[in-house]
Symmetry: C2
Subunit: 402 residues, 2 copies
């Protein structure tokens, strides 16, 4: 299918095959656009094969797939009933190959890199994206460069290192590092699949495609998404827009962008009706995966929120940890960032923004096991007994006040 890249701000167009991630004029992110979309979805294969009509790749090589996507949309059993919401769903992205949503974008980004002839890929990340790019780089047999901040502790590096990438610790400002990585990539023929690379965003749109399929092509009223760089938010919205444009659905849900109080450049700009995000000086939140102080797709998220009629808001670390426990009651264990949508939902139900008949989808972006320290606060009431005392101890629990 015909594809061009377009600047999300000025509309300048670039040919398919353009390796850059940003407009050379206004430095805003680029986005893939297509001609007329066919309403064609296949039953079998990877996300890129199933939704082939929405991608420019020709025949996709399945050998690079680790089984990304095809995650469940889990209807709430507990909280929806408790809060009086009829249709509350969790899109569980923790069931991906490296246990976060990043795998969709990495798989898609690697297809683009390979279609351009790259034999080296990389990313700037210390978290979910680093593990994902390292895993897919290994699988595809590509030299893989993971650039991490100097301060990252060994415990965070090892679950990335297990995939065998080249790990480079870089001293200095993380945001400058993003730009410098692109220059180093130009020089050395490395395609950096950073957070808002156009074809990483193209991967995220399959989250929306699957939600549509799983709801039998009925459009949800709200989709609630933790937002950091803004790439995943953009991708999900783009997915709904493309399915609508292909005639597969007849509306677009309102999107709700959730950020942490301690790092909320997008939510802050949204509330103050500014058109541009401003850099957050001392970001600090337990939800490290959404702690981007100067999100590269921030301005585009603001533009799209306005058009979409959606909302951006913040939740506190305390609300996030409370939401982590609440989500455990649904049988889902999310990392702090992944619990931000539930924290927002609780608030938006209590203030009446969300209504009992709304159909609400929460995107659970990454697994709780990624951040075991987020459970440090957890108060664990453990009963101790001997084997001989077991039956009695259980009896007490059953009769007890809890």
């Amino acid at each position: 299918m015909e594809c061009q890249l377009i600047c999300t701000q000025c509309g300048k167009r670039y040919a398919f095959g353009e390796p850059r991630l940003r407009c050379d004029g206004c430095r805003e992110p680029l986005e893939a656009i297509y001609g007329a979309l066919r309403a064609e979805v296949k039953d079998q294969g990877s996300i890129l094969r199933r939704f082939k009509a929405f991608y420019p790749f020709g025949e996709v090589s399945e050998t690079m797939s680790l089984g990304e996507g095809a995650t469940p949309l889990i209807p709430s059993s507990v909280l929806g009933r408790r809060w009086g919401i009829d249709a509350l769903y969790f899109k569980d992205e923790t069931q991906n190959p490296t246990w976060s949503f990043k795998d969709r974008g990495t798989f898609c980004g690697i297809q683009y890199a390979i279609s351009l002839g790259y034999e080296r890929i990389g990313t700037v990340s210390t978290g979910n994206m680093a593990a994902s790019v390292a895993a897919y780089g290994a699988k595809a047999g590509l030299a893989t460069f993971i650039l991490v901040s100097a301060g990252i502790p060994a415990e965070k590096i090892k679950p990335i290192a297990v995939y065998g990438p080249h790990l480079i610790r870089v001293e200095g400002d993380y945001h400058e590092l993003y730009d410098e990585s692109l220059r180093a990539g130009d020089r050395h023929g490395i395609y950096f699949i950073n957070s808002d690379a156009p074809f990483r965003v193209e991967g995220s749109k399959t989250i929306a495609f699957e939600i549509c399929e799983q709801l039998h092509f009925q459009v949800p009223d709200y989709v609630i998404i933790p937002v950091s760089s803004g790439g995943n938010f953009r991708g999900i919205l783009k997915g709904f827009e493309e399915f609508k444009s292909a005639g597969l659905i007849n509306g677009i849900p309102k999107l709700i962008a959730v950020q942490a109080e301690g790092c909320a450049p997008i939510a802050e700009a949204f509330e103050r009706r500014r058109e541009k995000v401003r850099r957050v000086r001392n970001p600090k939140t337990i939800a490290r995966a959404i702690e981007n102080p100067y999100p590269p797709s921030g301005n585009q998220v603001l533009r799209k929120l306005k058009e979409n009629g959606g909302l951006a808001l913040t939740v506190s670390d305390e609300e996030i940890l409370d939401a982590q426990n609440l989500m455990g009651q649904e049988g889902i264990f999310g990392q702090p960032a992944a619990c931000a949508p539930l924290a927002a939902t609780k608030r938006l139900i209590s203030n009446g923004y969300l209504k009992p008949r709304d159909r609400i989808v929460l995107v659970i972006t990454g697994a709780g096991l990624k951040v075991p320290s987020s459970l440090n606060h957890l108060d664990v009431p453990v009963i101790s007994t001997s084997i001989g005392g077991l039956t009695e101890a259980i009896g007490k629990v059953i009769e007890g006040p809890c």
Copy 2:
């Protein structure tokens, strides 16, 4: 469909609805058996709905599902080629709701418990099974009792506690605890979905069903499985047997049971041609998930291995950790137990048991993130640089000896 439970040793039969896990005569595990099986597989729904023809449940309640199963069968990209094996596959059970294969059996076991009218469930475990039962118990709104050994550290308890079960630490022998849990369960109306509960085993058979589908109903030559209690091994074999009996496949793969050198009651009995497992006195392996010193299904695994023509063998902790690194090169990060099949594969290729034309499936039972300490040994070569020095640093890596 008509279903009975049968003692795996003496053949004594029990009615469907029998809560016990063991034969009251010989204390061997019970197994579900059916009348004629229909070769019917559905496209949509949970594993129990898709393979409904192989279960006795009538209409299955999907509300208890967390999206278990439907895991990818990933063809090797790297190691198969390196080792000269044409068809090497990883069945990636880490992409389950609580990131291990246990979720299949828990989902199935809960259906049985609920069909019997239980409102309380439990298990004896400190690892994958505990997290799985706690998650599904929460989802199903059942009071859930998790019995753990007294020595278990808080870090291991918290990822179980997040789902909100009743946690009971029990002082004393772990094996006695298994038996005592069943007595306490009888007394208090708790269905214990322990490691070889008949309907936990019934859940595991969907691993085999999916492998068959994913290989387009061509039977693999070998399926290699880490073995602890023996329940998962029994379930996978039963799945192949049932698909054959339904006419969906025309043979049964040879099954290879892998244990750790430091705790190998089944492999040891197999090698010495004994019919019964003997209890291992001081079990010690990094692969804690397969460290069951006296596996409840051990004797049945031995009987089935004989009939199947399969093999049991041990691998060392060193081989397991080496395999963990090797599997990282395929983009898959397994917990130590999950890497035992790859360690065995490497050995069985080098000694000529496995041949280039064999079609080999490895069952990757649980996620590496479950046991972060298994990466303590990992030597991580990290390059350090400043932002200004990044391009040069990458250049050195590219030109360098690696």
